[in-house]
């Protein structure tokens, strides 16, 4: 990371805001679809889209990580504590994203079935690794989702705090 930069590069911004939309959208869809009645017209399409967007998000996040490693970005602003907290929060968000990807995959493939991405291609299933995998992976997916959305909210509040209270460049460098 080079501290001389004042904003993130265009691709990093695009990937960040796409991820924000995905995290919020997938959380909302997931929260809503698990309580759908069996006779709802969305009962089959909502999970299909949730899984399709989720798997696209896996690919995009992998690309984002690679781009983050090879490109430069501005440094984090704030007190020593804020810099440390922000760094760990960013790591934790990535860890939670991959926890979501893996647990989601393990729910749907516990019987060896693959997962279709918008009926374009099918990601093969690797079957069951542990007993009652669909239940355990489902619990991990649920709890990790709540932690991720909470941490994302905190991340947004922190950015707003830097923008409106500290009046620094934190939010602007991502816009």
């Amino acid at each position: 990371m080079s501290s001389s930069l004042v904003t993130y590069n265009k691709l990093a911004k695009l990937l960040h805001w796409f991820s924000a939309i995905m995290v919020i959208g997938l959380f909302a869809a997931g929260y809503w679809m698990v309580d759908l009645s069996y006779y709802s017209e969305w009962y089959q399409t909502a999970p299909h889209w949730h899984k399709s967007f989720g798997l696209c998000f896996v690919v995009i996040t992998l690309g984002r990580l690679i781009w983050k490693l090879v490109s430069n970005g501005p440094s984090i602003e704030g007190s020593a504590f804020e810099k440390k907290a922000a760094t760990y929060a960013h790591y934790l968000i990535y860890i939670l994203l991959f926890t979501m990807f893996l647990s989601g995959y393990l729910i749907s493939t516990a019987d060896g079935r693959g997962i279709a991405i918008f009926n374009w291609i099918e990601v093969p299933g690797l079957g069951s690794f542990i007993e009652n995998q669909e239940d355990l992976a489902g619990q991990v997916h649920e709890y990790a989702a709540y932690i991720l959305i909470g941490l994302s909210g905190l991340h947004a509040l922190a950015a707003l705090k830097h923008h409106f209270i500290d009046k620094d460049n934190t939010l602007k460098k991502m816009l």
């Binding site: 009645s37 069996y38 006779y39 999970p47 729910i107 749907s108 493939t109 516990a110 019987d111 079935r113 069951s128 009652n132 995998q133 669909e134 239940d135 489902g138």
Partner: protein
């Protein structure tokens, strides 16, 4: 003469309890199946099974009324060959396997039916609710197996009304038909 007398007294003593008490069998779970069938939309059926259970039964064709059957079942082992559906069926929308992880059937009386089958009355515990049910059963066969044991096989069917067991009734799926095949090894 003395030897013959001892032998006949001994054999009589051994024969007595044998005829009074039905033989005990332990269910060989590699040759036993707890299958179920539920209506799907009223147009077809979903079939599934419970993979984990244990059981024992007593049966003597000369004293059918002394027969007993009991089965203990792990409801988290539900398997309909579709992980996402299994997850949903095991959730609190349906059988709530997290809370009610065991189901059981314990017979209370066994009677012979006119057609030579068995009417096994017992208490079925499922979804935390215990209700009396009657299982229509029959003995499929019994005899020595090739590996030195004696086996007997039973098949029983019964219908559980979901509402009786405190479960949500959704659309056409108001009941579950159970089809249980038990092969027992005489102990």
């Amino acid at each position: 003469m003395k030897k013959v007398l001892i032998a006949s007294v001994l054999s009589a003593a051994m024969a007595l309890p044998m005829s009074a008490i039905a033989a005990d069998y332990k269910v060989d779970t590699t040759h036993a199946f707890v299958n179920f069938k539920v209506s799907h939309l009223g147009y077809s059926f979903i079939q599934g099974r419970f993979n984990k259970f244990e059981g024992q039964f007593s049966y003597d064709d000369k004293n059918v009324a002394a027969s007993k059957v009991s089965i203990n079942l792990d409801t988290t082992s539900l398997d309909t060959n579709h992980a996402e559906r299994d997850k949903h069926l095991k959730s609190d929308d349906y059988i709530n396997a997290g809370k009610f992880s065991t189901a059981k059937f314990v017979s209370t009386s066994v009677a012979e039916t006119a057609d030579g089958g068995l009417a096994i009355t017992g208490d079925m515990t499922f979804h935390g609710v215990t209700k009396p049910v009657v299982v229509d059963a029959k003995v499929i066969g019994q005899g020595d197996d090739p590996w030195g044991n004696y086996r007997a096989g039973l098949e029983g069917t019964t219908r559980l009304e979901l509402a009786d067991f405190g479960m949500n009734v959704k659309g056409a799926s108001t009941y579950v038909d159970l089809d249980i095949v038990l092969e027992g090894i005489r102990q």
